[in-house]
Structures are given as C-alpha cells and as structure tokens.
C-alpha cells in the first residue's frame, strides 16, 4: 500500500560543494556564499566535526557503562550540525531538537550541562538566554512554532537577526511544522527551517513521511527552499548563510533540507538492525562527512599527521572533560522536585512541599541507618 521508493538516496537537485571523495565542485547557488572560506577555516570546521563525533562516541560509551540513561547519537550528521551552527551569528536564536548536542557544544553550552538531560539529573542543562539556544525539544515539531514566534518578535523589535529551528525528516509530518510555515510566510518572519533528513524517524523511512522530496513543500507556502548534501559541511554552511542573508535583509523565512544519514541508532535504546540493512549503512558510510573533508584538506596539504594528532588530542580532552563532568553530576536533592514549577507562591504546591519535607524529615529522624527510601519500611 505504501510507496517508499522515492527519496531512497541522494538525488539530482541536491546541491553539493565537496563530493564524497573530497573533490570540490562549484555550485551556482551555494558557492558564492562560501567563497570567503579559507583553508584554515575549513580546518576549523573539520576540527568541530571531529570533536563532536568524539563527544558522540564518548556519550554512547557512557550510556553503555550506565552513566547516561539514554543518548541520541549524531553520528553521520556532523556536517549538518557544524555547517549550520557555524553560519550563525551569536545573537541568532536556535531552537533545536534532542539531537543537536553538537550544536549546543559549539554554542558554548557546558558539557556536563548537556549530559545532565541524558543522565536524568535535570530536564535540560543550560540557560537558553545565555547561549541564545533553547534546550532540547522532545515533542516532535513543537520547536518550529517557537522559532517562528521568536522571529516574529525579532521583526517587531526591528532586529537584524534570526531564529533557526532544527527539525528531522519525521517531524515534517507534524501539524505544528505546517502551521509554522503558514505563520512564517504570513508574517515574513526571519526564521530558518533547517531539516536534517537523516532518512529515518526511528524505524520509519523518510519515504513514509514524504512521498516527494521534503524541500519541495516550502515553495507552496511561498517559502524558498534548498536541498543540499547534508554530509557536505561547506554546502550546509553556504545554504545556511543563504537563508541567513535572506532573513537578515527582510527576505523572510527559508527552508533547508540537509540530506544526511543517521549512521547510529535512533537512540541507545534503539536496535536499528531490526529495520534496516547493512547495504544502506555501507553506502552512506562511503559518504562520510568527516572523511571527505579530511581527503580534501590532505590533498591540499593542510592536514598532516601532526595536525591530525593535535585535533585528535583536543577531541580526547573534550571527551575526558565530558566524562568527568557527566560522572560528577550530583543527584538532585529530593526537594528540588518543587522548584521552578511557578515563579512565585502557589498555595497547593507549597503545601505539598511542606508535607513532603515533613515526610522526609520523618525518615531522617527515625531511620538514620536507611539510605534508600524504597522498601525501607517493610
């Protein structure tokens, strides 16, 4: 009944600058936006990707070791994350999903803070206003409306700035994403919809969500879109700059479909062998976003063994910091349950808090030997 034949791989019409083999290709639309990118800057982008891949590896390991409750890998999507975030200005506001942990790192969020969500010590781990980046959104698609509203606010404020909403291919099916595009178009809001089409929504192939290429939807709302190779950091950088220039100059919303691939599991709780074959993995492995930049930089003589080692060393240091930060995250105090539900007094909740404090105090008083609550009574 369902035709998932479409969109099974990169297709004509996907803009690209760095091919999978590391060769450079001029793209009429994109190239002008990255003409200024020096080799040294490309090394920085490479470094970013290596570091966030290392973060991903370390977090995955921490989950296996029981230090994280869950982790949503970004393996394979490094170019999409780095290319997009590095195109933004500091005061551009980011509304991510749960998977943009590499983006959060680049924005300056504390590694332990990032991990706190996945360890379960906190709902989210940084101050959105400090980094101009909202914390992870788990409700699929919800953040696209927040980004649109924020961008409407930017227009009201007369600010030459923008907001960007990250979303997945699966998310494009949600009503909220549609309503975001309607509002963004109506109010010509300076928002970028940045869709990482990583080909899967848990076990569901992108063909189930979109019978035709995702980027083809935006024009129907009057929103220009680009479909780019999401494993090509320069293409992503260029596309995001294109959209950014539009937003900043009053051009309104843009939509980017970054065609990439989720090389890992959906999350560490997922078992992708149940729904996808190795051929696809191999095919996409050959299009690795990092390997192609390494090939390019190496070919240009900008990446020798020493530089590679230095970058790897930095990545390891970040990983070590992450591990230490994560493991040392303290369990929250039970009374923290009641914090920040409201900004002020709340008679009912305050009463519950007082009662619970008495309840806990009873344990402290009568059962000083007991360390866990569960079952201590029986």
């Amino acid at each position: 009944m369902l035709d998932t034949s479409s969109d099974s791989g990169p297709q004509p019409g996907i803009h690209q600058i760095i091919a999978a083999d590391g060769t450079l290709h001029a793209d009429e639309v994109l190239s002008p936006f990255v003409a200024d990118v020096s080799d040294e800057q490309l090394v920085q982008l490479y470094r970013d990707m290596v570091v966030i891949r290392r973060i991903d590896t370390e977090a995955t390991a921490l989950q296996r070791q029981g230090q994280l409750a869950l982790w949503p890998p970004m393996l394979g999507q490094e170019a999409s994350q780095i290319g997009s975030v590095r195109a933004l200005e500091e005061d551009d506001f980011i509304f991510p999903t749960y998977r943009e942990n590499g983006v959060a790192y680049c924005r300056g969020a504390d590694l332990a803070g990032i991990m706190s969500t996945w360890r379960g010590t906190a709902n989210t781990g940084w101050d959105p206003h400090e980094f101009n980046m909202a914390t992870p959104q788990i409700i699929i698609g919800a953040q696209t409306l927040h980004a649109t509203g924020y961008a409407m606010g930017l227009t009201m404020d007369g600010k030459e700035s923008l907001s960007i909403a990250y979303l997945g291919d699966g998310a494009t099916s949600q009503g909220d994403v549609h309503e975001s595009m309607v509002f963004a178009a109506s109010f010509q809001a300076p928002v970028i919809f940045f869709c990482q089409n990583n080909h899967w929504a848990i076990s569901e192939p992108v063909g189930l969500q979109a019978h035709s290429p995702i980027a083809g939807r935006a024009p129907g709302y009057g929103i220009p879109s680009l479909r780019v190779d999401g494993n090509d950091v320069l293409a992503v950088l260029a596309a995001t700059r294109w959209a950014g220039a539009r937003a900043r100059s009053g051009g309104g919303p843009s939509f980017i479909e970054a065609v990439t691939y989720r090389m890992g599991a959906h999350t560490t709780a997922d078992d992708p062998t149940r729904y996808r074959g190795v051929t696809e993995l191999e095919e996409w492995g050959a299009k690795d976003p990092i390997a192609r930049v390494r090939a390019l930089l190496t070919a240009r003589g900008k990446l020798d063994a020493g530089r590679e080692a230095e970058i790897a060393g930095q990545a390891d240091a970040v990983a070590a910091e992450l591990r230490a930060g994560c493991i040392n995250l303290p369990d929250p105090d039970p009374m923290a349950l009641f914090d920040n539900v409201y900004t002020g007094d709340h008679a009912i909740l305050d009463r519950q808090r007082d009662h619970f404090a008495r309840y806990l105090a009873g344990f402290a008083a009568t059962e000083s030997a007991t360390t866990t609550l569960e079952g201590s009574r029986s």
Binding site: N123, I139, A142, H146, E179, D339, T343
Partner: protein, 336 residues
C-alpha cells in the same frame, strides 16, 4: 468608577496592560479589524497597530506556539481562543510547552502568557461553542487558571494575569459578557485582592455554596431564594481555579458544616471533585453532611434546545442545598 459590561471591562484591561507595558501583544483569530467575534478587542488594533494586535492565521497550536516564541523573546503575549471548544488543537503546546518551559529550563525561561478563553454555555450556540474545559488545565501543573464573574474582577484579574510571570488561563464567562458593573479603572493593581484569592460574595451560616465564572450570579440568586425560605447560604466566588484558595472555603465550611459546589462542566473530575475531596480532607470533623455537587452531566455539551436542562440553574442548585441540609429533595429516600 465607570459602568461597564464584562466585555468592555476586559477590553479596558487589555488596553491598560498594553499601555503599561509595550511588551504586551495580542494574538488570535479575528481579533484585529473585527475586534473579535465578541468585540472584546474592539478598537485595539486601530489604537495599537497590527504589530501589537495580531490577526493570526486559523491555527490554535500556532497561536500558542508562536506566543511561546514571543515569550522567549521577552514579550508578554495574550492569546485569544475564539471559543472554548477550539482550544484543543492548542492543547499540546499548552500542556507540553507553556506549562513546562519554566521548570524545563530550571527557571531560566519564563512563560508570561495569558490565554483568554470565552467559556461556558447558555448562549444558544451549536456544538463546541459552549464547553467548560477548565478542569483539563487545572489538572495541568505549571499553569494558573482563573475566572472572573463580574466586570471589576475581569478588569483587575486580567491585568494581574498579564503581569504574572507564570502562564495564566483566563476563562471568560461568555454568557455574562453583557452583564454590567462598576469598574474602577484607575485602581492600584498592587492594592487589589490577589489574583489567587477566593472571595466570599454573600455571607451566610447554614451552608457554603462555591461557584465560579458564569454560575456566580446564579449562586447569588440561589442565596436570595434560599433566604426567602429561611436558609442562609454563604456564597464563595472561587476566582482562582488553580491554585484554589481553600482558606475562605475551609473557614466557611467549618462554620456551616455543609458544602455545595456548582459548575457547568461535567461532574466526573470537574472542579467539584477536587473541591469536595480537598474540603473533606481539611474539614472532615466539621462536616455534617456529605458535600454535594451540582454540575453539568457527564455528556458532551448538548444541542442548545437542551442546554437549559444540562446547566445547573437556580432550581438545581436549591435542590442541592436541600440535599446538603437533609431537607426533602429530589434524591430523598435514595441510599448513597
């Protein structure tokens, strides 16, 4: 003091809030040129411009969701939901975003949204135009929920809601939109009764009658009718539905020993359930009879030619009062 209808009072409250704080913006369907289907926002677009009174496309999830984004940006959005029954497409954004963002961000982000919802029945409308969905939001932690029953409260409480850093659902008793009352437009907000405070609107000694929104006038009528019958009812206007201000209710019930709660919403898990449970917990030794609920039935809101039978009216409330007083009533002779 000015004599205003409830809609005029809300309009004045919006106007005053917008004058006081440039960050207050309104969003909703038909609120601009038309001034809202109930004319509550009449004239505001003209006076404040279409960047502050925003006619939005027809999508409730987006009305709430973009308001969330505006709040991130430092705005204080006031969303209008055209009718009670149209709030559900926005439910996810309210429950999973508006209510949770403050705690999600450990207090770093505030969500000072106000969501205005004309609610309740009695206006002869078709399906989805007469519902009382307040219980859904009272059950949702992270929200505050209020309902005004008269023009002065509407004016003051709306301004308080907009000034509040927590998200507030403001339920407007639409069948009382045209009721008039004196409103002090210049009163100092800091001296007004707290937004969260219930109010004794009629003192009495024999039983406590709790109501809110559209049924407060009906409850007051009941108190008058009961008085003619020699029964003294204390009527309390809840005003705040979440959190509920139990202090005056508990004080009253400890005196009267008897409680009747009335609302239009269905009985099962309507606010009456919480009030009866909480008052029983707090006043068990003072209760002389089981508290009584007089509410809409557990049915989807009926067609308008049936609504007068569904909605608690004077007689249904007085029957409930008889019940709590152990006087002859419709259930006399029935066990449990």
């Amino acid at each position: 003091m000015s004599k205003l209808t409830l809609t005029q009072a809300i309009n004045a409250g919006l106007r005053k809030s917008m004058e006081d704080d440039p960050k207050v913006v309104l969003l909703g369907e038909d609120i601009g040129t038309l001034g809202g289907v109930f004319r509550v926002t009449d004239g505001l677009m003209k006076d404040f411009g279409s960047h502050r009174v925003i006619d939005t496309p027809l999508a409730e999830s987006a009305i709430i969701g973009t308001a969330v984004g505006l709040a991130y940006r430092g705005y204080r959005p006031v969303c209008e939901i055209q009718f009670d029954g149209f709030i559900y497409p926005g439910f996810d954004q309210i429950v999973s975003q508006v209510a949770k963002l403050h705690v999600r961000t450990h207090g770093k982000v505030t969500m000072p949204l106000t969501i205005r919802v004309p609610f309740g029945g009695g206006i002869g409308s078709p399906e989805h135009h007469s519902e009382s969905p307040e219980a859904y939001f009272v059950h949702t932690s992270g929200l505050r929920v209020i309902s005004a029953s008269n023009p002065q409260d509407a004016y003051t409480m709306l301004r308080q809601a907009i000034a509040c850093d927590d998200p507030v659902l403001f339920f407007e008793p639409k069948r009382r939109y045209h009721s008039k009352g004196e409103v002090d437009l210049d009163a100092d907000l800091s001296r007004a009764p707290a937004m969260g405070a219930a109010r004794v609107v009629s003192a009495g000694t024999d039983a406590t009658l709790v109501a809110y929104g559209p049924l407060v006038p009906t409850a007051l009528d009941a108190a008058k009718a009961a008085a003619d019958d020699g029964v003294s009812l204390e009527v309390i206007d809840l005003r705040s539905l979440s959190p509920i201000d139990y202090a005056p209710i508990v004080e009253s019930v400890r005196r009267t020993g008897r409680l009747v709660v009335t609302h239009e919403a269905s009985e099962t898990l309507g606010l009456g359930a919480e009030i009866v449970a909480a008052v029983t917990e707090r006043c068990f030794n003072y209760l002389e009879a089981a508290p009584v609920r007089v509410t809409g039935f557990d049915i989807p809101y009926p067609p308008s030619k049936l609504e007068k039978h569904h909605l608690p009216d004077l007689d249904r409330i007085l029957d409930g009062v008889d019940r709590v007083l152990g006087r002859p009533n419709s259930l006399s002779g029935l066990e449990g």
